[in-house]
């Protein structure tokens, strides 16, 4: 390699020998600076993902083998017991679902009476985790569906228990997901009991999220369940996120912050559900600039975007309305 001819094996023997070392150090520091300012690494990564994909695939083999091996040695009896347990659970969920179906039709009728827009239905598809970020403080991982499977930036992932994260970068055949527990992630949530809205921040820890800047008069207490509020139009409303555990006073004694335990089992399992919004494109599509409305790197919260003027009114995102307040009818629509 031409680069190596520059280097004598012993740097320090003369001042010239130090030059390549300083050159490469300066180069890598410049790259870091440029990357932290302009986020070039995601662009480069999506360009080179064809090269990185085999590496990710190979690196995930030991874990996949481990899981396959574990399933190969499960006995018939264990499987039967599992099937029985699952069947019992299915019966219970079927019962609940019947009630939900009745409630849903009732709700639809009432929304019709109030001339509120109908909620969108969600469809989910199964995706597989391919790799996770080796750095434990960052909660990012790769899934096996990408732009060729019509995955878009901002789509939401859940597991059987709650919200997991959102798609932050899409490559052909793969996507990068940022988890809600990532230290750079912010999520608009709502207390299920009182309707209090707030922003939930990740902490880089799988068992802890933080709800900051609460005042003592806010109606929230330990044990409250948090749902996505749907504000911002990125996350569909009503997805369970976590439960409030305990409160902490900040140094100035003016605000409280709450510790929240996420429902999703973020450190376990290989399969997740990717949510697709059915019958609505404007809500889930990335903003016109191509950047997500809430970029993972900026823990800022953008309010609901006004719908572009060209959009038909029937297509404006209804998730932007708080769940318990009926959205205004078409005639009451505020001007963008």
């Amino acid at each position: 390699m031409a680069l190596d001819k520059l280097n004598s094996p012993q740097i320090g023997s003369s001042i010239n020998a130090w030059l390549p070392f300083l050159f490469y150090c300066a180069l890598s520091l410049t790259l870091m600076l440029v990357d932290s300012r302009f986020r070039i690494s995601s662009a480069i990564r999506s360009q080179t993902s064809v090269l990185a994909s085999p590496a990710w695939w190979l690196a995930s083999r030991p874990y996949a083998l481990w899981q396959n091996g574990a399933s190969a040695v499960t006995t018939n009896r264990e499987l039967r017991r599992k099937v029985d347990a699952l069947e019992a659970r299915q019966l219970k969920t079927d019962l609940i679902l019947q009630r939900v179906a009745a409630l849903q039709s009732e709700n639809d009728a009432m929304r019709g009476l109030l001339r509120a827009k109908q909620r969108l239905s969600l469809e989910a598809r199964m995706v597989e985790l391919i790799n996770i970020n080796p750095e434990p403080s960052q909660k990012r991982f790769v899934i096996d569906k990408g732009s060729s499977q019509k995955v878009r930036v901002g789509q939401v992932l859940i597991d059987a228990h709650g919200l997991v994260g959102q798609v932050s970068e899409v490559y052909p055949g793969k996507s990068l997901v940022i988890g809600i527990t990532d230290a750079d992630h912010a999520l608009p949530v709502m207390v299920a009991r009182s309707g209090l809205r707030s922003i939930l921040f990740g902490q880089g820890n799988d068992r802890r999220l933080s709800l900051a800047n609460l005042t003592p008069s806010d109606d929230i207490k330990a044990g409250d369940v948090l749902l996505t509020s749907g504000i911002g139009g990125r996350f569909p409303p009503g997805i369970p996120v976590g439960v409030v555990k305990q409160f902490k006073q900040d140094e100035a004694l003016t605000f409280l912050s709450a510790q929240v335990q996420p429902f999703a089992h973020l450190a376990y399992g290989r399969h997740l559900l990717l949510l697709d919004l059915v019958g609505n494109r404007s809500a889930a599509a990335p903003s016109p600039s191509g950047r997500p409305a809430m970029t993972p790197n900026k823990p800022s919260f953008t309010p609901a975007r006004p719908a572009p003027a060209s959009d038909k009114r029937s297509e404006t995102p209804v998730q932007a309305a708080p769940a318990n307040v009926p959205a205004p009818g078409p005639d009451a629509e505020p001007k963008p």
Binding site: M1, Q10, P20, F21, Y24, L27, S41, I44, R45, A55
Partner: protein, 160 residues
């Protein structure tokens, strides 16, 4: 007579160490994961310094940055610093007893963690988790075995 090393063993061991760095693991295990790639790289700098120049070190680091979702240049910079020190101290280092080499690795990996922590601080990224600070001890324990294993393989491949 100087026998030439075959590059196959070098690149194979580097590739293997590279995969160890990006294999998904449970969180506590991932935090304890020693910087194996740095150890293997330093071994080859000690043995065949001309074949492991700073340009190659830089490229390996950049590849690791791209595949492990790190900030671009982060691993490259950390590996370069270590490579620079080892290139510099190579002549003395090769005559150290192996436990002193291990101690040296322990020290250099701790310095590396301090560098990492500083880089993260400047960029406003989350600090490495606390268990990460145990990982150089594991590297310290691994180094003698890694050294002997690679050295053996290298001698065998040369004697053929």
């Amino acid at each position: 007579m100087i026998r030439r090393d075959s590059p196959a063993l070098r690149w194979l061991s580097i590739a293997l160490a590279f995969f160890i760095m990006i294999i998904p693991m449970a969180e506590w295990l991932a935090a304890l994961r020693p910087f194996v790639l740095a150890l293997v790289m330093m071994f080859w700098i000690l043995e065949t310094p001309r074949k492991m120049g700073l340009g190659r070190v830089f490229l390996i680091g950049l590849l690791l940055d791209l595949t492990s979702f790190a900030m671009l240049g982060e691993h490259a910079f950390r590996l370069l610093l270590m490579a620079g020190v080892v290139h510099q101290l190579r002549n003395q280092f090769r005559f150290y007893p192996i436990w002193q080499q291990s101690l040296f690795m322990l020290a250099i990996l701790y310095v590396d963690l301090v560098v990492l922590s500083g880089l993260r601080l400047i960029q406003g990224l989350p600090q490495p988790v606390i268990e990460t600070w145990i990982s150089p001890v594991l590297a310290f324990l691994i180094w003698p075995w890694l050294y002997m294993f690679l050295d053996n393989l290298r001698m065998q491949s040369r004697s053929k």
